[in-house]
């Protein structure tokens, strides 16, 4: 048996039907709420219908809200989206505020299955100034250089090494000695 439903689905963010490119379109097509007229578990749904439902429907003419009384059944919601996805949710013992919150969430969703996003963005144009490579902004003389190149293979170093400093000190000492010798010779003459 397949276990795919057991693992967390992952994916990348996409917007269905190029939503938002021209204008925004509400992605929910139909919301159906089933409830019982007498059972206590549907109390919140009945409260929602009595107080909030009319305003909610008037504010959202983009989709249709169906109410289905089902005797002695636990209340639940089915949201159907433009991409063909269906979303079920139980409203068992939910209160009015909870129900209006969840119904609002169903409205603002786009209907993609719940998944962990691997990235928080999507682009069709990943680079405008060109993809960087190690050769970007390099000296154009490199184009005609033959490799391996002894000059370019050397270590990039701006400060003298300890050996070189020692050598310089030694040479300076030699120079000073020779100068001293010369002056002595001149004096002796």
């Amino acid at each position: 048996m397949s276990k795919t439903h057991l693992y967390l689905r992952t994916g990348f963010p996409r917007a269905p039907l190029a939503n938002g490119l021209g204008r925004y379109m509400c992605q929910v097509k139909r919301i159906t709420i089933k409830f019982c007229k007498s059972h206590g578990s549907s109390r919140g749904v009945r409260d929602f219908i009595e107080t909030d439902m009319i305003d909610f429907v008037k504010q959202n003419p983009e989709f249709v809200l169906y109410l289905k009384p089902r005797r002695h059944h636990s209340p639940h919601l089915i949201a159907e989206y433009l991409n063909g996805e269906k979303f079920h949710m139980s409203f068992h013992n939910f209160n009015r505020e909870e129900i209006s919150k969840w119904v609002n969430l169903m409205k603002t969703r786009a209907g993609a299955p719940i998944m962990a996003y691997r990235k928080l963005g999507h682009t069709d144009n990943p680079s405008i100034q060109g993809v960087w490579s190690p050769f970007a902004n390099q000296d154009t003389s490199l184009n005609v250089t033959s490799f391996p190149n002894e000059k370019l293979s050397r270590k990039f170093q701006t400060e003298p090494t300890a050996t070189e400093l020692l050598l310089e000190m030694f040479k300076k000492q030699q120079l000073e000695d020779s100068e001293a010798n010369e002056s002595k010779e001149e004096e002796s003459k």
Partner: protein, 212 residues
């Protein structure tokens, strides 16, 4: 000592450390060669004589530099005026995050306190950088308000998948699970537009925002 005296020390750089890599020419705009270690060797007589070489220092005239900058700014302005800049990209600051966006992109804001609702249009005020194929405008840290128009539409508000916070203290019989879902807001970037001329200093900046 005769050979040393012939070299005009005040005008040129005598440095064994620079002679070593002859492919590098010394210029004032290169920060590597204007550091302390250069001045240390600038008037040094300790350099080994066989390594001594003249290194020419090119100093850019500030007026010339300014003119060059002006020309570049003019070219950018011309490109924008004739609408030849092509696709632009921008780095916007949103909910503590810096995102690179270009028109038609989707970005997701993971925040429970992000108020805009579906179909709302937002103008992103904090633009750190705008670039085209041929130029880049970098803010310090932000670009002048009103220079760039980055506009997006909210297209989806959803909850994330259920995340788990698990805490356990070994040998103390303390185990806690916390499940939570955060609010994800999906935004479509609609347009990035440079509204004003580049490189123009206004007398008062950001006044329009103070009023509105």
């Amino acid at each position: 000592m005769g050979s040393l005296k012939m070299i005009p020390r005040t005008l040129s750089i005598l440095s064994s450390s620079l002679v070593r890599q002859s492919r590098l020419s010394v210029a004032t705009h290169n920060p590597i060669f204007t550091g302390n270690h250069l001045s240390k060797f600038l008037y040094s007589t300790t350099s080994s004589i066989d390594k001594l070489k003249l290194q020419q220092e090119t100093v850019l005239d500030p007026a010339e530099e300014k003119q060059m900058a002006q020309e570049v700014i003019e070219q950018v302005n011309n490109q924008i005026e004739t609408n030849e800049q092509g696709r632009l990209f921008a780095i916007i600051h949103i909910q503590g995050r810096q995102v690179k966006v270009t028109p038609d992109d989707i970005i997701i804001v993971d925040s429970n306190s992000f108020a805009p609702l579906n179909s709302d249009k937002i103008k992103f005020e904090k633009v750190l950088l705008v670039g085209g194929a041929d130029f880049t405008l970098v803010g310090r840290p932000l670009l002048t308000p009103g220079l760039v128009n980055v506009i997006g539409t909210i297209i989806e508000k959803d909850l994330s998948h259920t995340r788990t916070n698990f805490r356990k203290i070994p040998r103390k019989r303390h185990v806690r699970f916390r499940f939570f879902r955060t609010q994800l807001t999906m935004i479509r970037i609609n347009e990035i537009e440079i509204k004003e001329k580049v490189g123009q200093r206004k007398d008062v900046e950001g006044g329009d925002r103070l009023i509105s």
